[in-house]
């Protein structure tokens, strides 16, 4: 299943849910869509509870979006990471590069 992006806005916080599988074919459209959705300030929660697979290119896209957003002052937190995706992010070190809800202290 290719990835999808859904936006929910509450007061003060934007929640963006990414669902499906994120690989190189879905990366570029996802990047453009996320950059359009992420506001220039405030807090964003990227809800990954519906993300079932992420590839190497997918991780890079996610980090690129994260860095662009944080560099312009938006606070981004990843939430709801599933076990399989968590494992891959942990093994490859990507987990350490994000603000992640529920990440154990090093």
């Amino acid at each position: 299943m290719p990835s999808q992006v859904d936006l929910v806005e509450t007061v003060g916080t934007t929640v963006i849910a990414i669902t499906g599988e994120l690989d190189s074919s879905s990366s570029t459209p996802l990047r453009d869509r996320l950059m359009a959705l992420i506001p220039d300030s405030g807090q964003v929660r990227l809800d990954l509870s519906g993300l079932t697979y992420i590839s190497s290119a997918g991780l890079r896209t996610l980090l690129l979006v994260y860095r662009r957003a944080t560099s312009r002052g938006t606070q981004v937190t990843l939430t709801g990471i599933q076990d399989e995706v968590w494992f891959v992010m942990s093994a490859t070190g990507f987990l350490n590069l994000f603000d992640v809800e529920g990440k154990p202290e090093p």
Partner: protein, 716 residues
């Protein structure tokens, strides 16, 4: 126009169309597949090919999706280069098809039926999960893939630990955590090793040396275990398939093609823990074997360049594996250099240990060279300047260069002579004392121009008995390797302590424990770079197998249950490592001069026997004392306590008279291997006084370590 405005350029666009793909002429350098704006630059060298094609697959597909011949205009010199636009790099496998003459007698072995791996491939797919049954019908078994080299290293750099301060721990990535007792979440992987970093920190080592991690095929061993019928593996991995690619099967994420990120994360975290990473690299041969072996890459691209060939076109076999890489050919020299630069810069590797490095001394016809270009080039390379270069200074063709390896003041060596004499001393051989003194002092007879830092001291390594087996077996027991016990070394200098193999005799088991401690005590108080074999700190056994290269099972894997069972040995090793780190007088990079050049009243190093100041160099002597003056630590630049080590390999006790220390100081006991725990070793700074000052009863087959301390009630 500022460089910031160059978002677009003419050469970001294709000029040609080949096989439905938009392309343009590529750049010859760098070799391999490189991501460029809008496309991928493919560049491959072949001196003898008459034509070349780029073969593209969807990742894992059985058949290629396209084959793009390089037009004549896309060849510069002997380099075929092309940029292909619009490719999805992540879902791509690529290879080359080279056509040219098949004239073995002239060295040409082109075969256009084969799809060839890129020698510079930075990612390989095909053996993604260790041990998973391969598809033997695959027309392209080791597939080159494209890697994004964009790892975020933060502030990490290689650690640049002075060589003489290293304490090296040699291990196998898979064997280290594959055993169920390891307790890690991803056994047998880079990630598993990463989970053991706290253990390594606690142990105190500051460098791990990894057995080969370049992509190899664990299935390349055709033998089976004659006792069980189970298949044997190429477990150690001394048979490289791809020199730029980390082994996918060593990564928990190898199935997803993320082995590079996983390995880099391991290295980054090891560095954060103060632990360097040295890779065991195998440039002496490849996995292609001789003319009967598989054509994977080099043979099909440029056989005459990459391999040493006899005048009639067969392979020289100085490695015992079928072929020999032609390391002093100018093209191959650059290949080796590019490869090591890549690992140093992209993976932050701290050093390299070269397997059968004497091969790198040989000319294309096999003759040893006085000034081998490849060794000189590596020694002076700017990118590699801070990398340790360690030679296994021999080969299987009879070249034994320990002490004579062309070094340019830069190369250090695995000191095989250290291993041999310490083993002979430990089992009580006569005639070892004189050589022991030389080895303990950093082998000035071998490395007088380079200093003690050139000597990697070891008693055990992956190749040979483990430390426990050294004390438990007289003979190798290699039947499980499927070669009728003909493989593996015969000259082990081992002693079984009274019974061959496991025994219930408590005296023999006690003696083995003490002998292991003796070995560790000698190793960790010798000048030079000590190297431990992983698991020796808790008595790992290979059941007498001294050549575990094919044993992917309990024979080779570290049984972490032994850390509990032999906690006495683990505690002893930790304490000894801490002692070495606390005492710079043990870690001099230069050899001792045997004189007092700081005015302390003692020469830097002095030798003693059962009587102080009277070393016994006679053939029947079996007691050696060495005193290192603390004021001469690191050439007098650091202040340390004096350290006295007495080694008794005799089967009888000896009362030893100790050198008298100046008023206000005394000898205190740090370790006595004959004592039962907790009295065998103590915490730093908690050393107790000895009963009679200046005399100590050194028990049969034991080692005693004493340290200078202020006498009770006297200001230090």
């Amino acid at each position: 126009m500022s460089t910031q405005d160059i978002g677009d350029r003419i050469d970001f666009y294709p000029t040609h169309q080949i096989a439905g793909y938009r392309v343009r002429i590529g750049r010859p350098l760098p070799f391999g597949a490189t991501l460029v704006a809008g496309g991928i630059n493919f560049s491959v060298y072949s001196n003898g090919a008459t034509s070349m094609s780029l073969v593209l697959f969807d990742h894992g597909a059985k058949e290629p999706k396209a084959e793009l011949p390089f037009p004549p205009a896309f060849r510069i010199g002997a380099v075929f280069c092309m940029i292909v636009f619009g490719l999805d790099y992540e879902s791509l496998d690529y290879g080359f098809r080279a056509d040219g003459p098949f004239q073995p007698e002239r060295g040409y072995r082109f075969d256009s039926t084969k799809i060839l791996s890129d020698p510079h491939a930075r990612l390989i797919s095909g053996r993604d999960v260790w041990g998973a049954p391969p598809d033997w019908s695959d027309i392209y078994p080791y597939r080159s893939r494209v890697l994004m080299d964009d790892f975020d290293w933060g502030d990490d750099t290689p650690l640049r630990t002075p060589p003489e301060d290293l304490i090296v721990y040699e291990t196998h990535v898979r064997g280290f955590t594959r055993h169920p007792s390891s307790g890690v979440s991803a056994p047998g992987t880079f990630m598993g090793l990463r989970e053991k970093i706290p253990y390594l920190r606690e142990l105190g080592v500051n460098c791990v040396e990894l057995l080969p991690i370049f992509e190899f095929d664990e299935h390349s061993n055709p033998n089976t275990n004659p006792q069980t019928g189970e298949p044997l593996y190429n477990y150690w991995g001394y048979s490289t398939v791809a020199f730029f690619a980390p082994k996918a099967g060593y990564a928990a994420t190898g199935a997803h093609g993320m082995q590079a990120d996983e390995l880099k994360t391991l290295i980054k975290e090891l560095h954060q823990a103060g632990i360097e990473v040295i890779l065991d690299v195998v440039f002496n041969h490849t996995a292609e074997g001789d003319e009967r072996g598989p054509t994977i890459s080099f043979r099909g691209l440029d056989n005459t360049t990459y391999y040493m060939l006899t005048p009639d076109g067969y392979y020289y076999n100085f490695t015992g594996t079928g072929n020999t890489v032609n390391c002093n050919h100018p093209v191959v020299r650059n290949f080796v250099l590019d490869c090591l630069r890549y690992w140093a810069s992209e993976y932050h590797i701290d050093g390299f240990r070269f397997d059968l490095a004497a091969i790198l001394e040989r000319a294309p016809d096999g003759t040893p060279l006085p000034n081998p270009p490849v060794l000189e080039q590596l020694a002076y390379d700017p990118v590699l300047r801070d990398c340790k270069l360690i030679a296994e200074a021999w080969d299987a063709g009879g070249l034994y260069e320990v002490g004579n390896f062309p070094n340019y003041g830069r190369w250090s060596e695995w000191n095989g002579k250290y291993r041999d004499v310490v083993r002979r001393f430990l089992k009580g051989d006569s005639g070892t004392i004189g050589e022991m003194a030389a080895r303990i002092a950093g082998s000035p007879d071998l490395y007088w121009a380079r200093g003690a830092r050139a000597s990697v001291n070891f008693i055990t390594a992956h190749d040979g008995f483990t430390l426990y087996d050294l004390t438990a077996y007289n003979d190798k027991h290699n039947l499980a390797n499927g070669e009728n016990n003909n493989d593996g070394a015969n000259d082990n200098n081992s002693w079984n302590s009274g019974a061959e193999g496991p025994t219930s005799d408590p005296w023999i088991n006690r003696l083995r424990m003490v002998q292991m401690k003796n070995a560790l005590a000698i190793l960790l108080t010798s000048q030079g770079i000590p190297m431990l074999l992983a698991g020796d700190e808790f008595g790992r056994t290979q059941q007498g197998n001294n050549n575990g290269y094919c044993q992917d099972n309990e024979v080779s894997w570290l049984d972490w249950g032994l850390a509990e069972k032999n906690s006495e040995l683990l505690r002893f090793t930790r304490a000894l490592i801490a002692f070495r780190k606390a005492h710079p007088t043990l870690r001099g990079g230069e050899h001792p001069r045997g004189v007092d050049y700081v005015g302390s009243g003692f020469p830097d190093v002095t030798w003693h026997g059962t009587n102080a100041w009277q070393p016994d160099w006679s053939p029947w002597a079996r007691v050696l004392g060495v005193m290192r003056c603390g004021r001469h630590a690191k050439g007098g630049s650091e202040r340390d306590q004096h350290v006295y080590v007495v080694m008794n390999c005799h089967w009888e006790d000896h009362e030893v008279a100790l050198p008298v220390l100046p008023e206000g100081t005394e000898w205190r006991l740090f370790a006595d291997t004959s004592a039962f725990p907790p009295y065998d070793v103590c915490d730093l700074g908690k050393e107790p006084s000895i009963i009679v000052p200046h005399r100590y009863l050194v028990r049969a087959r034991s080692t005693v370590i004493l340290v200078e301390s202020a006498t009770e009630g006297t200001p230090a």
